[in-house]
């Protein structure tokens, strides 16, 4: 009977596009989550911690980050930690995992560094770990079939970092493997890494699972935020444990339901959470009499979230302004007519959009709305 904590894809030092300054906060959260994982491993008294690739997001992470990660893993004490190089921290030239020795590698850490000898044996626990280190970010090499189980007693666990092959969806050079590869492998459990969402493969003989990233790194990674506690005995049980602290959420708000900035602000305020990254899509029609000021909402609420982005996806409706039929003897009436003419005549969609926005801005200004 063996109990392991299976994690992968922490991507320490990851770059997060579109988050601006919040990127630092997310990276700090990932570091904090690593510390939580270590705490959990100690609390659960696991026999080993396995990291199935992409502990680091790049081979160019800073020495301080490497020191941090090793410092945390060292807290495991006598609990061994087995690390597999993934696609981001692959064993290319200047590999971060190869340089770990230079950072006083803790005694409990073992890294698969030799493709010729992809076996790490823990005699005292009668555990044998296997793992074919990824030598490049892209490869057609099958990380499951490239390793052979040894004929000996004990528990045999394979670490593999690659993609479960789904025809026409999985790239051929994304370290692919199939269900049959897993079922025919003979291992007791296969700890997978590469996919960021938790996913247990529908195998029949050998249990295999992606534990997913312990911390989501994008709005679409809804299945991230877990590690797996795997009990391997006569039966293999995989327990999904929540460790992620950041909450990534997308919200769609229709402008039809709100007329004033304050109303949208109140709606967004309901989601306020300092660990939440919220992306609000404002949809519907950008009506002429609506005075929703997105910058104002962002300015008021940004501090209530780890990250807040508000995307104005409202449709611009200049015709509605024309329908107001304001007298041409007023500047506003004249302005609307002249701008509407220009919009109608414009063939360039970008120019049309610019003119439409100018029309709405001018309309708001000339209607006494403080939109600047």
């Amino acid at each position: 009977m063996a109990k392991i904590l299976h994690t992968a894809d922490l991507h320490l030092g990851v770059k997060l596009s579109g988050l601006g300054k919040a990127g630092d906060r997310v990276r700090a959260s990932i570091k904090a989550t690593l510390a939580s994982i270590i705490d959990m491993a100690i609390e659960e008294k696991v026999d080993a911690v396995v990291i199935a690739g992409d502990l680091f997001d790049s081979n160019q992470v800073s020495s301080s980050l490497i020191r941090f990660a090793l410092g945390e893993i060292a807290r495991l004490g006598k609990i061994p930690c087995v690390i597999l190089p993934g696609t981001h921290d692959c064993l290319e030239e200047g590999s971060v995992l190869m340089s770990i020795d230079h950072h006083e590698k803790p005694a409990n850490v073992s890294v698969f560094l030799d493709p010729e000898n992809p076996v790490i044996r823990l005699e005292d626990k009668n555990l044998t770990f296997y793992g074919m280190p990824n030598m490049a970010s892209r490869s057609t090499k099958n990380p499951v079939t490239s390793v052979q189980r040894l004929e000996r007693d004990g528990t045999h666990i394979l670490l593999a970092h690659g993609s479960y092959m789904i025809p026409e969806k999985t790239a051929a050079d994304d370290h692919p493997f199939g269900l049959d590869d897993i079922d025919n492998s003979g291992f007791d459990y296969i700890a997978l890494g590469h996919w960021h969402s938790f996913f247990e493969l529908p195998t029949t003989k050998t249990k295999a699972a992606y534990c997913g990233s312990p911390e989501p790194m994008a709005f679409d990674q809804t299945g991230a935020g877990h590690v797996a506690i795997v009990n391997i005995g006569n039966q293999v049980t995989i327990e999904k444990k929540v460790v992620g602290r950041t909450n990534w959420q997308k919200v769609e708000l229709s402008s039809a339901n709100f007329k004033y900035t304050m109303e949208i602000e109140q709606e967004i305020q309901k989601h306020a959470d300092e660990n939440k990254l919220l992306r609000v899509h404002i949809t519907g029609l950008a009506t002429a009499d609506s005075s929703i000021d997105i910058d104002e909402i962002h300015g008021l609420l940004a501090d209530s979230f780890m990250h807040l982005s508000i995307i104005d996806e409202r449709e611009q409706v200049p015709q509605e302004l024309l329908e107001l039929n304001l007298p041409p003897t007023t500047i506003l009436g004249q302005f609307i007519r002249q701008m509407s003419d220009a919009i109608d005549k414009s063939e360039d969609s970008e120019q049309k959009e610019l003119l439409t926005e100018s029309l709405r801005t001018g309309y708001a200004l000339l209607s006494g709305k403080d939109v600047l």
Binding site: V14, Q60, S62, S63, S367, L372
Partner: protein, 705 residues
Amino acid sequence: MQIEKCQIYRYGKLDRFSSSFSPGLNLIKGPNEAGKSTLVDALTDALFENPKTRKKDVKAKTSWGFEKDFEITLDFESEGLSYSLSKDFDTGSVTLLKKSTGETLDDRKRVNSIVSNGLGLSNRDIFLATSCIRQDEMARIANSPDAIKDRLEALITGGKEEALASKAIDRLAAQIKGLKKTGIKHKGQLQALEDRRTELAYDLEKAKREIGDVKQSRTRLKNVKTTLESLREEYEVKTTQRKNSKLAIDIRETSARLEERFSDLMSRTSNIKVSEETVEKVRNKIAHLPKIDKADVRHADEQAAQRKYLDTKREGCEQQVSDLTEKINLAKPGTALKLMSALTLAGTGALAYYWYRFTAMADASFLFGAGASLVLFIIFSILWSKRSKSCTQVKVKFDLQKSRFEEIEEDLSENKVAIEAVLGKYKFDKVELLKEKFEQRYELDKDIRSEVNRYEGYLGEKTLKELEDELKIVTRDLAIENERFREVKSYTMSAEDFAILETAVDKIKKETGELESEEMTLERQLDFAESGIEHQASLEERIEEIDTQVARKRHQLRVLETTQQYIETARKDVLKSTLQLLDDETSDILREVTDGKYSQVRFDRQSLKFEVYSNELDDWVDPESHLSRGTIDQLYLAARLALVRIISEEKNPVIILDDPFVTFDDNRRRNALKVLKRFAERYQIFLLTCHDHYDGITDNVINLT
């Protein structure tokens, strides 16, 4: 448009209100707080508000104590058709009943269209800006000289009191400037962003370089470590080789020393034993020899030497005596000499005589012969004399020698006694024997001393036991060293090979040292290189954010510039066309309300400042310096009514006047009413008041209580 009837439920003070209205002027009279302004609001909401609104200020208008929101129904006539407009703010429904056909519309947009079309005013703002003159408006105009200009512009702009096209343009310009401004201290938003981006881009490049260096350093470090590992292994092998080789040499040297010491000790102990035996033997020999006084030996020896000397001397003396005896014999003149002297003497006489006698001295040969014989005689005589003298001398010597000989004999005799005395002491018969024995003993003593010296030399400062003990230790050490040597024997190498090994080790050591130094430098570099991909990511994210902001700001700038451009154009166009109409309309109305005192007004096309033509001065004047407050109020009223006509064009909006003339004196009020009456011929007017000034001006009076 003509409003025929109005029914209001649950609207502020008017929780239940119903009234019919007439065409033309309607006087709605009531004391303060009777609900006049509420009625104006209710009419405005009935005409323009969306009953589905969630606006709190609208919802708040519901009368206190009612659960349901308010409801308003307006019956009106527009363009010859009668309608009934119902807005239920509780259900959010709007219905417009076309009375002639019974058709009902509930589409808000269509209903709004019919209403605004009937009014000739498209929205609430225009309505409030033109045909709805509130109670406090005239008072505000009176308090600010620029108010009329601003108000007019607001009206022309689009109705909103707070919206001025010129101010909108100014604000746009300020925003544009705020975005575009360049400089060091007061930079615009765009420049600030771009500057920040430049800084971040610099930091990013630096970080990338550092990261590149770190990558190189890591690769180099890995190579250095690999090389170091193999060098250390080689060093280990070679140093073991060198160490064992050195050990072998050392052992051999130690063994050699020990062997030497062993030999020395062996030799010394052996010699010591031999010495001891030798001394013993010599001592035994000495024991058989008498102890002879050295002085005696010396004395005997001296006497022996004396005797020898005397013997030699006696012999020599004896020889000389013999020789002198012989010499004496030889020195005695011989018979021949004596005979020859006699013969020569006889010959000389015989010849001299014969010559004299027998030759008569004639023959000289005889004379000559006699002479020659004489000469010979002389010679022989001399010889004879000399030999005699010599013989005498030898005899003297002989006597002396003989005397000496006798002395020697005497000395010999004494010598013999002396020798015999010494020899007798030791019972030897010969001096030589004495000497021999003495010599023997002397030599043996010397041998002992010499042997003892040797013995002591062998011992040194140690005892024999000590030497023997040391020999045991040396023997043991030697065995150990030999055993040690056996272990390292395979490492023995020639001096040349050892020198080559030493050079190789030194070279490895030097290379190792250099690589270790490089390793340390690289590790320090890596330890202190804090730049990592996460730092780069952070910078890139911020640059990306700034780029987004810059793009947005640029877009915003283009929007603002376009907006500004179009507002300026619209303003220019409107002021050009509308102001001409406004000039004319306002002048007409102003003439009427001032009893012809002022008959012309003109608005500046750019600034909207206006001038009034003074008939008294026969010139255009600045109203600020020439017109009274009351006249300016009149001018505003004139402009306001003119705008109703201009903006509503051919339509006939309802004009609502909520007690606007409270600041007017009787004369001005009268003139104003005169104008209103004229307007009432075309427009339906609601004049709301709490005063009695207007009593009698119309029969259509609705009293609010």
